[in-house]
Symmetry: C2
Subunit: 465 residues, 2 copies
């Protein structure tokens, strides 16, 4: 009995042990048939494929099947047999059908055959029951696991960097304030300012924008580390590529230089895509057929081809001599726009690109200064359709140079005394990068909107569920 109860639809569909008694539980996707026989497509989330339940009218008169409607939950006992019909190798000849939970056809929001992605965002609590979101969420799981496995296999240690942070020194964007002070009339200090000494942490705190600085501390002790946690941006941008809450992976490696960093990024991304192709063929095939006929080709292309590496300076030359007209002008020293990145990746090189050695003015204070004093050892990995999927750098390990950069960029020293200590005591060359998890999932699933690759998206004016 207890064996029967552990069987998933995935198990049954793969089974070659036929003509035996089985129990399956799941949700009705469709029901069709005639007065002699009913066919029920049942799905339990373990796979994109449904198992077909065959209910003979003799055994199951219509009144007993009343509760069997799209969205209802069933427990079905029966015999697993070779299927006579097309589209499936096996099916279940039902002997017992129990309706565990009904779904009123007049009310159930998911019964319409065509439900737009926009509409599904409004019912994000139910959308995992659709083929599309089942596929996306299974792939999301597979990618998260592949990330942990990759790093574990390569001797990295997973480090949980803090979510609530007392330092907003990195300046990577607008931050969410975290507080337990009264929302109205907070206590004030003698100067008439909010008295954060009375707040929970005794000072102003925010949600982290990156675990990198703390990750560096860990790397300069444990050697090879990575983070994988939520990060936040309080930016009022309503785009298909930005979320207020998203997950980021940030490896950091002692003794790595920019070359090593690029090698790691490339091997890492290629391994992840390869993992998806190996472990999620059915879900990828569905998304390929349904949304993006080029998806599988694009994934295979990334696995098979090396990324193009070039400097920012070289990229600017290419862009300047390009025949294409850009909306934004390109000049050495300005940040590249999305149109420029897309031109390089999708038109010029037709493959993923790693751009390096950006002007120091447009990059963060912690990046290692090149010998020319003008550029830093930064790298951005650009993907077709996505743009920047990874941003990273070799870090400045020299205390004096780091302090100079901080002064130039008005980064307050006193807030980062602990970060600077790593350069004071046993400093070492090191490098790392950040991978936006949802951007990876966008690429691997071929979905167009970042709100559709995270279970419960947070963006301006929306924190539902």
């Amino acid at each position: 009995m207890s064996d029967l109860r552990k069987t998933s639809v995935q198990d049954l569909l793969r089974s070659t042990d036929l003509d035996r008694e089985v129990l399956v539980r799941g949700w009705v996707r469709t029901r069709r048939g005639n007065k002699y026989v009913q066919f029920i497509a049942l799905n339990d989330g373990s796979t994109i494929h449904n198992i077909q339940v065959v209910a003979d009218a003799e055994k199951f008169p219509e009144e007993n099947l009343k509760g069997v409607t799209t969205g209802s939950c069933l427990a079905v006992r029966g015999k697993l047999v070779a299927s006579q019909g097309k589209g499936q190798a096996v099916e279940i000849q039902a002997t017992e059908i129990e309706v565990l939970g009904t779904a009123d056809p007049e009310e159930y929001p998911l019964q319409k055959k065509a439900t737009s992605l926009e509409y599904l965002r409004e019912i994000a609590h139910l959308r995992p029951r659709t083929n599309t979101f089942g596929a996306v969420l299974r792939i999301r799981h597979a990618m998260a696991f592949a990330i942990h496995q990759y790093f574990n296999d390569h001797g990295y240690f997973y480090v949980h960097t803090p979510i609530i942070t007392g330092s907003d020194a990195e300046g990577a964007g607008q931050m969410f304030r975290v507080t337990t002070l009264p929302e109205q009339n907070p206590p004030l200090d003698d100067a008439g300012q909010v008295d954060y000494k009375q707040d929970f942490f005794g000072k102003p705190t925010n949600l982290t924008v990156s675990g990198q600085l703390e990750g560096e501390l860990a790397a300069l002790a444990l050697g090879k580390i990575y983070t994988f946690g939520p990060t936040f941006r309080a930016e009022n941008s309503n785009t298909a590529r930005h979320l207020a809450e998203f997950w980021m992976i940030e490896p950091e490696v002692a003794f790595n230089d920019l070359e090593d960093n690029m090698d790691l990024a490339e091997d890492f991304l290629r391994s992840l895509v390869r993992y998806a192709l190996t472990h999620c063929p059915d879900d990828l095939q569905f998304l390929n057929d349904q949304y993006d006929k080029e998806l599988l080709n694009r994934l295979k292309f990334v696995v098979d081809n090396e990324f193009q590496r070039l400097t920012y300076t070289e990229a600017v030359e290419i862009l300047k001599s390009a025949k294409q007209k850009f909306e934004f002008p390109v000049d050495w020293g300005t940040d590249l726009q999305s149109e420029h990145e897309r031109y390089l990746v999708e038109k010029h090189f037709k493959k993923p690109v790693i751009l390096t050695n950006y002007p120091k003015e447009i990059k963060a204070f912690y990046m290692k200064l090149d010998e020319d004093g003008r550029t830093v050892r930064a790298m951005d990995v650009l993907f077709p359709g996505i743009g920047e999927i990874i941003g990273g750098s070799q870090r400045e390990e020299d205390l004096t140079k780091l302090l100079t950069r901080m002064q130039e960029m008005h980064v307050p020293e006193e807030d980062l005394w602990w970060y600077l200590d790593t350069r004071r005591y046993g400093t070492a060359p090191h490098a790392g990068f950040g991978l936006g998890f949802e951007r990876l999932i966008l690429f691997v699933t071929g979905m167009a909107n970042i709100r559709d690759v995270i279970p419960f998206p947070r963006f301006p004016k929306s924190a539902e569920f």
Copy 2:
């Protein structure tokens, strides 16, 4: 060359391929010797063990070794040879020593041999460089990986539930407010209240206390899911067992009942402890020798023995007839105190205990009502030295009963319309639990204070680094 650069201390210590040229980089733990020879113990974080670097005075006159002090970072080239001394199988006969980063002996905070755990908390940015925190953080990594591997192997999908939440309906504790409104004089509405319509999300938002409710949505679509993410409590409790920010693992399984839930919790915990014993023998041995001579025995005991299962009602009977005097009286209907739990686990049964079927009044609204109408299908797993390590339940899948419980416990229906939808459409029996990750790490490492098992602890008046 590039091969040499990828070698860790761990690799070298395990190597049987001797008398070859090697390169090792790491931080100096100790240096000792005489006028003929110097011995440098080097650690790179890959293992608790140091590799011994032997520097002959002839090749390395004292003035060349000036920078080689505790905490400095070195790159050492030399020959890997069998060690003549005790305590290590191999060592490196140095031919070249480069100081990558110095650590002034007058200032480096970690050079004193004995550094208390309390002191190390104040320099949490450097403590991963100690043996103790190296061991704890490597074990923490191993446990995180074991968790992902366990669930992946068993067909679960990892779901990222939201960190910022617009519903504070679960009532599991005080919450941190998340906002971008001005800290002073926020905009007010016509009623003179803070106008959250103008806040980032258009309504009040908080940091999550649990991903369970969203996890249930996913389980009722994908079947078997788990969460692993940060959770928050704004409770002003300064204890060795509480953090304001901690990580939690919450599996949720469609079609599981309370029995299944207990089986899962027990198998899961036992697998994790077994994984630690197999994969972290050196780090565990160190912690066993240094802090807690019973650690390894306790871990082996958990792997080898089944947990004791009994109902709350049975536990109350045992406690009432116990000869021990308790500070707090025990009576059916009151919550058990730590002293009661410890008596059951450490004195009466002398093994982990699973308590079930608590009075409904002391448990959350979503737990399934037992047939007697007085108790719910809750379960707490109690561990020696830790107390509650897991709390879970079978969930109430019946919409009418769930609504009644919510009314009785004053949980606002309108905030949880999406949660209730799962009971409206295709409801199914399901169960799950929450495992506090840091409590697991406390148990596995034998550390006494929860602030010592997370890299950067957050607690009242402290959000450093």
